[in-house]
């Protein structure tokens, strides 16, 4: 049974990841039919994205970084992502500060952004990486490196072009501490899953060395912003995708995301009001599909199952013991026109919410 599932998992993940990453990119544009892209990616290799979507992204290219363009609402949400990550780190730090570091706030965390799109979050996080790697981190997010992946060539190009307009970010791109990979999540974890899985005994020496391109990428923080609600639950599995995300995570690390819940207030907010014609609406019509929204308990269930599956090795199967030390966090986010995004604890049911899961510290 275990071996059966192990074999089937990469397949499922391969199928879901490109769609996931690609559709997140199309968040704020009217979307092409997902059934065609799903069928095409299912039959083709992992990096294939349908021609429909590619042409669609080309149309998106010019407006991705336009502060008044269709992605405006995403840009406005971005500061909240930093705040939510900071609150997660305040609850539990992935890597305890190494002994040689005398800084109270060391920049020692390695980030992976899955489905980075045009780089709204990835670039903003890369900006907080100190130019001098021994310097203390300027923000509570403590970034040491950022690896951002997206399967869309066009979007990765947009992201790289935009990153070059900031000398600080450009310097990180050149040093390799910030990188955009035009690839899928599976390709990122492939070298590691082929060899022996997780390296026990964190923090590993890699956490202090800034070489995210090392063959076994292990990340302190994996981010998944506005991705889950774009998975078609009838054709692909959020569970398999989340499991793969959790595989890339170091013990004690956080998987952090944001998505939209499938409730009545959320329906009114996201489907009726947010997509209403100008001047009421804030996102283009057809941005979201109601049946793809996910509720917090669903995510909670998936990540619990995912944590156990991610602990699977060739010799043992993960079980409830792998959930020890797991932390779960969830908080609502509400967009108030004129005021912007606000974090509202308990408002998860209203629509947008942030969620986070922390892998237990001590792997068995």
């Amino acid at each position: 049974m275990a071996s059966l599932r192990l074999r089937s998992l990469p397949l499922r993940a391969r199928r879901s990841a490109p769609i996931v990453a690609a559709t997140r990119s199309s968040l704020c544009r009217p979307r092409p039919s997902m059934t065609t892209s799903t069928s095409s990616t299912r039959t083709h290799s992992t990096s294939s994205v349908s021609a429909d979507e590619l042409s669609h992204f080309s149309a998106l290219a010019s407006s991705w970084w336009d502060p008044m363009g269709p992605s405006r609402i995403l840009h406005l949400m971005n500061p909240l992502r930093h705040e939510f990550i900071a609150s997660c780190l305040a609850d539990g730090s992935p890597a305890p500060p190494s002994s040689d570091s005398n800084s109270t706030n060391p920049a020692d965390l390695h980030y992976l952004d899955v489905g980075c799109g045009g780089g709204i979050f990835a670039e903003s996080l890369a900006r907080t990486i100190p130019l001098d790697s021994s310097a203390s981190a300027p923000t509570a997010t403590r970034a040491a490196s950022m690896t951002a992946v997206d399967p869309s060539t066009t979007l990765i190009q947009i992201a790289r072009d935009h990153a070059r307009t900031d000398p600080a970010v450009d310097a990180h791109l050149r040093s390799g501490r910030f990188q955009y990979l035009n690839t899928t999540l599976e390709d990122v974890i492939a070298p590691q899953s082929s060899t022996s899985a997780s390296t026990p005994g964190a923090p590993s020496p890699q956490s202090s060395s800034s070489s995210p391109s090392s063959p076994s990428p292990q990340f302190d923080i994996v981010t998944l912003f506005e991705v889950l609600e774009h998975i078609d639950p009838t054709t692909s599995s959020p569970l398999g995708f989340l499991t793969n995300c959790l595989r890339t995570l170091k013990p004690g690390g956080w998987l952090i995301g944001s998505t939209i819940s499938r409730t009545f207030p959320s329906f009114v907010l996201n489907q009726v009001i947010a997509e209403a014609p100008w001047p009421i609406g804030v996102v283009p019509r057809g941005t979201h599909e109601w049946n793809k929204f996910v509720n917090p308990p669903e995510v909670h269930g998936w990540v619990q199952e995912g944590l156990m599956r991610a602990a699977d090795t060739s010799t043992r199967r993960g079980g409830p013991s792998d959930l020890e030390g797991m932390q779960w966090k969830c908080v609502g986010a509400v967009y108030v026109p004129g005021l912007g995004w606000k974090m509202v604890p308990g408002a998860e049911e209203w629509g947008n919410y942030f969620w986070a899961v922390r892998k237990g510290d001590a792997p068995v």
Binding site: P67, N78, P79, S124, V169, D170
Partner: protein, 519 residues
Amino acid sequence: MRPFSRAALRPYICPSCRHGIGAGRRRLGTQLGSPDIYDVVCVGGGPAGLGLLAALRASPATSKLKVALVETQDLRKAQAWDLEPNQFSNRVSSLTPSSVSFLRSIGAWGHLDAGRVQDYQEMQVWDGETGSRISFDWSAETSPFEDLRTVATMTENANLVRALLKRIAVSGDENLSLFSNTTVASIENGSDLQPDGADLSAWPVLSVKPTGPAGTAQAPSRIAARLLVGADGINSPVRSFADISTHGWDYNRHGVVATLALADPDTTPFPAHLRTAYQRFLPTLGGPIALLPLPNNHATLVWSTTPEHAAYLKSLSPAAFLAMVNAAFRLSMTDLSYMMRMDGSPPTPLPTSSTEQQDTTTPHEAELAWRLQHTPVPSHIPPSATALQPGTVASFPLRFRHAAQYVSPRVALVGDAAHVIHPLAGQGLNLGLADVAALARTISYAVSHGMDVGDLLTLERYSSERYLPNAKIGGACDLLHKMYSVPGQGPVTWARSLGLDAIDRLPFVKSFLMKNAEA
């Protein structure tokens, strides 16, 4: 959204440099290396620009930013500024409590020479045409047993500038460049430094040059700015570069300023430290006259009037000038209009010092003394001005300007570059400091959230915080000016007097207005 490329096609070139720009461009072309890159470059070293720098240096989030300031004047002179204890500069500003608390929060207030700063707790404002009056103080808000709260604090601009410079100096010189005696020759967009560097094609790049042979700091010839802040006054070169238009008008009025010594008050104020500011609207002469307290029984005068009257006042001898000031707080409009037309030639040759008593009485003094005998004088007038500090009489034109927007990609405007208003409420510098506080907060937020401090998404936070409040206060001052420019009796005069009296009798309306003015 206005595309940045429009600004790119029309680089700002200061008119005096336009003739030499061709040669300059070729020179730049040959040495086109990468410019020095700064996070925040502020053009203009007045209270607003220095306030921004001090605020950035004071906040932990922004203290590591690489910042530069470009100022045409010599900042060393500003730092070495010093005057005798009873001499006061004629450029004095009234700081609201919120401005004072901002200056305290950035650690600049302690560097002020406290002996040159004067709080006042009461303000008397009345209409010279009808006599209707309003007095502002916090007595409605405070119990009789506590001290009256400060309405505003008078500070010489030079004292404030020196304090800000000291505050900035205390923060150390790491990541800080003050380019004094340096002028901005041109601002253009940068270029793509492919393959060795970043794409700076949307970054403003300043070409600067020393104003004289004695340039203090060795400024690099080219400075690239992640965020270029225009604190460069009403004719802002930064605003021209960003292609931001302004609207506004000239009031056809001048503000006449002077530093005066006052007679001892007839009755000692009840709390001994109580000080009062006085403002009387003189509709037939074109605007209000205000007397604002300075330490040791001195006061600064701001008299808004027509350019003709301003020229007349400036031509008077010190004794005649003082007589006109005292008359303006006491006599009727008819009397004042007459005195404004008197032969102003001084009967005495060159008065050596204004503090000396003059033996001969000027015609203005005689006229004032005679007319006062026939004029009932209210109780709320200021003590008479007894001496004029030599060399402090000056005038400046009054204007209204408001920039169409405060921000543009990688550009933000603060202070007079963004708005110039009528000085009748003494709000100009306060609005500038409020801009600076808001912009510093915005930059701090951006830095702590990974945002690019020059990005429009960052800057719109600043703009949305400041645009409406500034427009509101500027508009209110404009409205007051227009209402109080209507001479004689008539509907407008009655309405404004009714309004003033009503406000004075309704404590809650008055305290609402004062809280608005304070915040």
